[in-house]
Subunit: 359 residues, 3 copies
């Protein structure tokens, strides 16, 4: 080992597993309301992208680099439906073609930047990262009816993670950590979480984990949001998709309704969790939380969003500390416990898609 | 590609072009008034240098490292015309010779630090970085009469850039960016900048770009500084030298004087722009701005300096964003447009001097 | 040299000397009062360690990584005499054995983390880093009677250094720097420090430097703490041990007592200086300062501690600047002067122990 390597060993030792990403997928690029009167620059799957909304309300995505002098187009301005560079004013349309060079009549045919396929659906902006075999999308982006049905109030945010995306999957696939990490909000009694009956099913690239916690004490967020009479029958239904998770949690008064009834009442929280790799070691986490207040709609919604944000702040602290520690220690065996079944199944799907990228 | 390389790829990918620097040149090391009762430490062309003023007012420059235990001499103190290390008190003269070791009679002949050739001229401190063929200066440092003629009021500052020096040249050689980057100060109408007639001449290592913008609207800084009656005839004369640029801009009331008359009146701004590489990827930018107020001298000067500083703040944001993006994307072809003629000629001169370093 | 190396050269050039550390030694891991109701995470000799106090008051140290999902155990909580991980609640005892996995009956035999040997003695927590030949301690940790004798009031703190440990040794072994670095506190007249008679003795792995400064002016800290009548006879006795230094300084009124009398009176400051490498290039500095106020005990002690902290702040600035400069310049010869005798002898001991590690 050379002197130089020794010096750097502590600071930049490689992480234990170097994820690449499944391609031929729609990933979340933005929440719809992020794109308004300014372009948004964001690195997605190692590609610097500028996202913007054109004059007719469509979303567009280009490589975030002016072809003239390499300035990020995301520091430019929306102008006449296109995107104008903030240095010398070159104007690009949604397809990446340069349509104006101020002070110059002829526009060289090489004056263009690559475009990406993006689509907005149910207020989520999806971007296609295809393999060389599938540069064009092979399907529609996922629907997310919760945003469109009118049955829920919702809001959300984008979090940046200094951790690779699969650690976020692990966290979301195993809600048993609520009893240790989220005591102040949605946690509640730790042993009830740990001893909850759990079923794990998978079909294709989807994994579903269901846990029921009958006769629980309502955790702080639940009590604040809903007039439960006493103990509650609580559920967690987690649906893993390659680019996002849908997590339906909630509760009814204990012994009043079946947790298998899809139309059951009570207090609901429906979370959308878009997990998009930024780089091999960092991630974007796009979340929305939808709820069904019985009364005081705005107030309850605001409370649920506030508590959800607090909860996700706590997760971020844990996951980033976990990743830093993985980097410090390098690749090392890990011990599995009972709660890891769902997360491990999701990892297998990702691994198999990585192997098959573009095949 | 190894796992470790993949991880680091995003953070530290090499910039697209790795400049080295023309040698056998006088570069700006400091503005004269920076050197008073304390030494100044500054890395110049990759060399850590300590600059100071001796008891008789001369400027001096040494390697910024005590030969005893490697402390930066720039954290020491001026003492009796020399520079005393702040750890164990060794005293060095302007030639780098140790002339006192407290508590020790004999001074070893090896107790010395390398010195650099520096000269102050017209309140600019110049330093010679010679090739092995020319360790001694082969000429006098440049004169800058604007500082000494008494015709102008001026002030200036030193900016640090996280970008290589040639990106600052590019920016200064092409003032067409004023219409997009500097709308709040010296910009004015973008299309007038872009469509201005431009002439580019070069002779030896000097490039001169002249642009005239007749019948323009005065930009904010101009209106604030001078009582123009209406539209103005505006000029920009840029003179590129290897280590600095001289930019003369200004305006007269439209159709009152010839812009070719070197003695023309109106409002003048004479900029001095010393661009000195700090490292391969970072730079020092030493600027002064001189103006000729008709009335309210101090107030107009203060206004012009304030607006100039704002303008250069804007440039710094753009240029550093540009460089970061160049690092993100790696080496890639760039498209030239009409405004790049002057900058490209300057780049050719630098390239040819780099090839010839010391020849 | 490749393009990439050139770019990085300035930022991460390797330090001139890459220390590894003598093994088979007790190093300071903590000051006793740091370990109370929370675990403390600390990297020591490149190993991330979590330190904690068990229910019965004993100190314990484990590898700072949960064997389940690699979270730092130092972000967990003390629980029932053990340490509980903050993610999924695994509970470890002081020997590193997992003794509870919430929600799971069987605990796999592999569920454990490595432990380190630690012992608390005289309010200092020592940790054994043994070679493969001596994983178990071969001796008791050092005693430090100053903390236990009841003759002194003391307090202390932990400082983090961005510099390798041997630069701190150098600094402490040569107190002649007091006259240049610590003028505001314990410095006093520079030439008296530099011209003080110094004796250097060594025996085994211990080096002792003694300096006497008769008839000195009391420095600010001394005057503030003790009612000296006029000039003072001042002493400095420095005892270097591989993992720590003991520095006894003080003064009596000039010409009143022999500085060779171990029971001499006057004003005393007894410093304990634990210097423990964190990594090859960073260090922990655990210090306590003990003094013997004649009157106003608490006030004088507080004053001495405050002044000591100020003094060590000044050292930290100098040593970190020195190390950054060593990194900037790379390996280069250094010139020795008269004051370096003690420090150089300490370096020889370290070097010889490094060569012999584990032999």
């Amino acid at each position: 080992m050379s002197a130089s390597n020794q010096t750097l060993a502590y600071e930049v030792s490689p992480p234990p597993a170097l994820p690449t990403f499944p391609l031929d997928q729609w990933y979340v690029a933005a929440l719809g309301w992020e794109l308004n009167d300014k372009p948004v620059g964001r690195t997605l799957l190692n590609k610097p992208v500028v996202l913007f909304r054109t004059a007719d309300g469509q979303v567009a995505a280009l490589e975030d680099r002016c072809c003239h002098r390499a300035l990020p187009l995301s520091s430019g301005t929306l102008d006449g439906g296109g995107l104008r560079c903030g240095y010398h004013g070159l104007l690009f349309n949604a397809a990446g073609k340069c349509i104006e060079i101020p002070g110059q009549e002829k526009i060289p045919s090489k004056a263009k930047v690559p475009m990406y396929h993006v689509q907005e659906r149910d207020q989520i902006v999806w971007i296609w990262f295809g393999s060389s075999a599938h540069p064009e999308p092979t399907c529609e982006p996922p629907a997310y009816d919760v945003h469109s049905s009118g049955k829920y109030l919702f809001d959300g945010d984008v979090y940046h993670y200094d951790a690779p995306y699969q650690l976020i999957h692990d966290n979301l696939m195993d809600l048993s950590h609520l009893g240790y990490v989220h005591l102040r909000t949605i946690g509640g009694n730790a042993s009830i979480h740990m001893e909850a009956k759990m079923t794990v099913e998978s079909e294709g690239d989807v994994v579903k984990v269901v846990r029921h916690m009958p006769n629980s004490t309502p955790p702080p967020t639940y009590s604040a949001a809903y007039p439960f009479k006493g103990t509650i029958d609580r559920w967690q239904e987690i649906e893993f998709h390659v680019s996002h998770l849908r997590i339906w949690t909630g509760a009814v008064d204990a012994n009043t309704e079946s947790l298998d009834d899809p139309e059951r009442g009570g207090f609901h929280m429906r979370g959308f969790h878009g997990v998009t790799p930024e780089t091999d070691t960092t991630s974007h986490y796009f979340w929305t939380m939808a709820t069904n207040p019985e009364t005081n709609h705005d107030e309850v919604k605001a409370k649920v969003i506030e508590q959800t944000a607090l909860t996700f702040d706590e997760d971020k602290v844990v996951i980033e500390a976990q990743y830093q520690n993985m980097c410090r220690f390098g690749e090392r065996p890990m011990i599995d416990i009972h709660v890891d079944v769902g997360a491990n199944r999701a990892r297998k799907i990702i691994e198999s898609l990585r192997q098959a990228n573009g095949a």
